[in-house]
C-alpha cells in the first residue's frame, strides 16, 4: 500500500531539534548499556551526587551530635560508625571519582578531538564496577556499618565487632573501577589525540587527568591489597598484623598511607585542572605559564608517592625518617605554590568576568592556600606532635581536599553545564549559592582549627564544655553548607528543564570543547577537528574560531 499526499498543508511545527548525544535515543537501555563516554560521564555524575548526598547526611548528623557535650542525638557506637561511613562515602563514593569520572569522561575525548575513549566498553564496565562497589558499601551500612574510621587501622580493624569485611570488600571493588578508568585515560591521552594536537597543546585539564590517572593506576592497587589483607585478617583471623604471630600494625599504616596520601592528589589534581580552565576562560587570557602548570601537575603526581610517612610522625617512625618525609611533603607545597601563582598571574591584565564558576575559583583559591599552608605546618614534625589526631588536622584536610575539591567540582558543574545539558544555569542564583557554600564551609571548618589547637581530639564522641561555643558555630556552618548544596542542586535541576538554550560557546572561550555544539553530537564533532592553534589563544577573535 502506498500513500500519496499531494499539497496537503503541513501544520507549522518547530524545527526538529539538532541531533545530540542526549536525544539520539531515549530508552533506559540506551543509557544503561551505552558506550558513549558522554553518557557514561552523566551516569557517573548522577551516582556520585547521590554518594555525596549520603555522605552529607552523615556529616549533618555528626555535626548535630556535637551541638552539646555528651549524648545529643546518637549513642557513642553509632557516632563511631557514622564518622567512619561519612569518611568512606565522601572519599570513595564521591571525591575520588567525582571530577575524573564525570567531567573527565565527558570532556577528555572532546578536548583531544577523539570520538571516544580508547576502551569504551571497559569504560562502561568501570561504571558498573563502581555501582557494584557502592551497593556493597550500602550493604555494609545496612549490616550495621563499620566503626574503625576510614583508615581501618590495624589491629583494631582486624577485631572490630562492626561490619569490617563487607566494607573493605566494597572499597576493594571500587578501587578496580578507579584503576580501569585510570588505564583508560592514560591510553586515551597517549593514542587518541587528533592530528596537530601535540602534548603541549592539550588543554591543561587533560594534563590533570593524565597526572591523576598515573596515581590511580599505581596507588590504588596498594590500597586494594592492604584492605584485602585487613579483610582476610578479620574474617579468617590469620594475624598478618598481629605481633603475637610475627606481624606489625605499623606496617599496615605504611601500606595504607602509601595509597591514601597519593589519594589526596587523586582528589586535588582534577580540581586544579578544572580551575585553570575556568581562570583562563573567564580572564580571556592564556595561562601565565602553560608549562609551569603541566610540569607541576606531574611533579605533584610523582612526589606524592614519597610523602606518606607524614601521617605517622607519632606512630613510632624514627626522627630521621619523619624529618625526611616532612621535607618531601613540603616539596608538594612548592609545586602547589607554582600553580597558585600561575592562576593568579593569569588573571593579571585579563578581561576578568565574574561568573559563578569564577566565584568558586576565588573560594577555591582561599581554601586551597589556607589548607595548603596549614598542611606545611602539620608536615613539620615538632608542630605535628601537638596537632596530631586533633581537630586541627580534621580542619586542615577538610580545607585542602574537601573545600578545594568541592568548590572546583561546583565550578566545573556550572562551567560545563551549558556544554553538557545545552541549557544555561541562572547566574544570580549561582552567585547566592556560591556565597552560601563558601560561608557555610568556612564557618564549619575554621572553628575546628581553633578547637584542635586548643586540644580537642578528633573522632571523640564527648568533649569538655569549654569547647561548646566553637562546636555550635561549626554545626550551624554545616547546616548552612547543607542548605547551600540543596539550593544549588535545586536550581540546576530546574535549569536542566527550564534553562535558556545555550549556544556552542557561551563563555567566549577558546578551549577545544567549546568548538562543538552544546550539547555535543554523538560523535563529539560535526566535522573532524583539526587543531591549528592553542586552546588558550585569545589573540584569535571568536568569530574566526567558529568559522
Amino acid at each position: 500500500m502506498t500513500t500519496v499526499d499531494i499539497a496537503v498543508p503541513v501544520p507549522a511545527r518547530r524545527p526538529a531539534p539538532r541531533e545530540s548525544y542526549l536525544n539520539v535515543a531515549h530508552t533506559v537501555k540506551s543509557w544503561a548499556l551505552t558506550t558513549d563516554h558522554k553518557r557514561i560521564g552523566i551516569l557517573y555524575l548522577v551516582t556520585t551526587i547521590l554518594g555525596m548526598a549520603l555522605g552529607g547526611v552523615f556529616a549533618l548528623v555528626l555535626r548535630t551530635e556535637h551541638l552539646s557535650p555528651g549524648p545529643t542525638i546518637v549513642d557513642a557506637y553509632t557516632y563511631n560508625r557514622l564518622f567512619t561511613m561519612h569518611g568512606i562515602t565522601m572519599v570513595w563514593l564521591f571525591m575520588i571519582p567525582s571530577i575524573p569520572t564525570a567531567f573527565g569522561n565527558f570532556l577528555l575525548p572532546i578536548m583531544i578531538g577523539a570520538k571516544d575513549v580508547a576502551f569504551p566498553r571497559l569504560n562502561l564496565l568501570s561504571y558498573y564496577i563502581y555501582l557494584l562497589g557502592s551497593i556493597w558499601v550500602l550493604i555494609a551500612l545496612w549490616a550495621g556499618g563499620c566503626d574503625t574510621g576510614w583508615t581501618f587501622y590495624a589491629p583494631y580493624s582486624t577485631h572490630s565487632p562492626s561490619a569490617v569485611v563487607p566494607t573493605v570488600f566494597g572499597i576493594f571493588i571500587l578501587g578496580w573501577s578507579t584503576i580501569i578508568t585510570g588505564v583508560n585515560f592514560i591510553v586515551t591521552i597517549h593514542t587518541m589525540r587528533a592530528k596537530g594536537l601535540g602534548w603541549f597543546r592539550m588543554p591543561l585539564f587533560v594534563w590533570a587527568m593524565y597526572g591523576v590517572s598515573i596515581i590511580q593506576t599505581l596507588a590504588t592497587p596498594v590500597l586494594a591489597i592492604s584492605l584485602l589483607v585487613v579483610g582476610i585478617d578479620h574474617w579468617f583471623d590469620w594475624g598478618l598484623f598481629d605481633p603475637a604471630r610475627g606481624g606489625d600494625p605499623v606496617l599496615y599504616q605504611h601500606l595504607f598511607w602509601f595509597y591514601s596520601h597519593p589519594a589526596v592528589y587523586i582528589m586535588i589534581l582534577p580540581a586544579m585542572g578544572v580551575i585553570i580552565e575556568v581562570v583562563c576562560t573567564f580572564s580571556h587570557k592564556n595561562p601565565a605559564s602553560y608549562k609551569a602548570i603541566a610540569y607541576s601537575t606531574l611533579g605533584i603526581a610523582f612526589v606524592g608517592f614519597a610523602t606518606w610517612g607524614h601521617h605517622m610522625f607519632v606512630a613510632g617512625i624514627s626522627v630521621f625518617d619523619a624529618a625526611a618525609f616532612g621535607v618531601l611533603s613540603m616539596l608538594v607545597a612548592i609545586f602547589s605554590a607554582i600553580k597558585v601563582f600561575t592562576w593568579v598571574l593569569t588573571m593579571r591584565r585579563g578581561s576578568v568576568v565574574v561568573t559563578t564558576p569564577m566565584l568558586y575559583f576565588f573560594a577555591f583559591l582561599f581554601l586551597f592556600v589556607f589548607g595548603g599552608m596549614t598542611g606545611v605546618a602539620v608536615a613539620t614534625q615538632s608542630l605535628d606532635v601537638h596537632w596530631h589526631d586533633t581537630y586541627f588536622v580534621v580542619a586542615h584536610f577538610h580545607f585542602i581536599m574537601v573545600g578545594s575539591t568541592m568548590t572546583a567540582w561546583l565550578a566545573a558543574l556550572h562551567y560545563w553545564f551549558p556544554k553538557i545539558t545545552g541549557r544555561m544555569y541562572p547566574e544570580r542564583l549561582g552567585y547566592v549559592g556560591a556565597t552560601l557554600v563558601f560561608s557555610g564551609f568556612f564557618m564549619t571548618f575554621f572553628p575546628q582549627f581553633l578547637l584542635g589547637n586548643a586540644g580537642m581530639p578528633r573522632r571523640y564522641y564527648d568533649y569538655a564544655p569549654r569547647f561548646q561555643p566553637l562546636h555550635v558555630v561549626s554545626t550551624v556552618g554545616a547546616w548552612i553548607l547543607g542548605a547551600a548544596m540543596i539550593w544549588t542542586l535545586t536550581y540546576l535541576l530546574v535549569a536542566l528543564f527550564r534553562g535558556e538554550r545555550a549556544p556552542a560557546n557561551p563563555w567566549d572561550s577558546r578551549s577545544y570543547e567549546w568548538l562543538t555544539p552544546s550539547p555535543p553530537p554523538k560523535h563529539n564533532f560535526v566535522r573532524e577537528p583539526v587543531f591549528t592553534r592553542d586552546p588558550y589563544d585569545y589573540t584569535v577573535p571568536a568569530e574566526e574560531v567558529h568559522a
Binding site: P221, W238, G246
Partner: protein, 214 residues
C-alpha cells in the same frame, strides 16, 4: 577476512597499539598489587630473619623448582603461539595455546599437592596447626601465612590467566583473530608472562634464599 576496527579508531594498527599499551599500564597496576605483599615479606623478614630461614629450609625445593620450570616452559609455548598466529597459522597457534593452558593447570595441580603436603604436616595459614606447637617462632608463623597468601594470590592469577587464554584459544580456533589482528593473543601472552615473572620472584623468596649456608 573479518576486520574488527572499532568505530573510534582510524585503523587496526592504532587500535592494536592502544590495546597493547593498555595492557602494559595494567601490568604496572598488577605489580603494585603484589608489591603490598612483597613489602610485608621484606618488613617481616627483616624483623624475623631466623624464622624465615627455617621456613625456607622447610619448604620442599623440588615442588617449587619443578613448578618454576613448568611455568617457564608454558611461557615459551604461548610466545611461540603468538609467533605462529602472526604468520597466519591459526591451527598450530591454537595447539600451542592449548599446551600453555595445560601447563598452567599442571602448575596448579603441583601447587595443590604441595598445599596438601603442608596441611598434612599441620601447617595452616594464620599460624594454626600442630607444626607450630613444636615451632613457636612467630617469624615462622608469619612466613607460612605469607607463603599461603602470596602463592595463593599468584595461583588465582594463574587460574584467571588460564581462563583468558582459553577464551583466546577459542578466538584463534574459530579464526576471529588471525594474522590481520594478532594483538589480542599477544596481549594475553604478555599477561601470562607477568604471572610467570611474579613466580620468578616468589621462587627464591620461599624456596631458595636463606641467610645460612645449607
Amino acid at each position: 577476512m573479518p576486520e574488527h576496527v572499532a568505530g573510534h579508531f582510524e585503523d587496526m594498527e592504532k587500535q592494536a597499539h592502544a590495546a597493547r599499551f593498555g595492557m602494559w599500564v595494567f601490568l604496572g597496576t598488577e605489580i603494585l598489587f603484589f608489591s603490598g605483599l612483597f613489602a610485608l615479606y621484606i618488613g617481616y623478614r627483616v624483623e624475623h630473619p631466623r624464622g624465615f630461614d627455617v621456613g625456607v629450609e622447610h619448604n620442599t625445593l623440588v615442588y617449587g623448582s619443578v613448578n618454576t620450570a613448568v611455568l617457564l616452559v608454558s611461557s615459551y609455548f604461548v610466545a611461540l603461539g603468538v609467533h605462529e598466529l602472526r604468520l597466519g597459522r591459526n591451527r598450530l597457534s591454537a595447539w600451542l595455546v592449548g599446551i600453555t593452558i595445560l601447563l598452567g593447570l599442571a602448575f596448579l595441580g603441583i601447587k595443590t599437592a604441595e598445599y596438601l603436603h603442608h596441611f598434612s604436616e599441620g601447617i595452616y595459614p594464620g599460624g594454626s596447626g600442630r607444626f607450630f606447637e613444636e615451632h613457636r617462632d612467630p617469624g615462622l608463623k608469619m612466613f607460612f601465612t605469607l607463603y599461603f597468601c602470596m602463592t595463593g594470590l599468584h595461583a588465582i592469577h594463574v587460574l584467571v590467566g588460564c581462563g583468558v587464554l582459553a577464551f583466546l584459544l577459542y578466538k584463534v580456533a574459530t579464526r576471529s583473530i588471525g594474522a590481520w589482528a594478532p594483538h589480542p593473543l599477544a596481549i594475553g601472552a604478555i599477561y601470562w608472562h607477568l604471572i610467570d615473572v611474579i613466580w620468578i620472584f616468589l621462587w627464591p623468596l620461599f624456596y631458595l634464599v636463606t641467610g645460612r649456608v645449607r
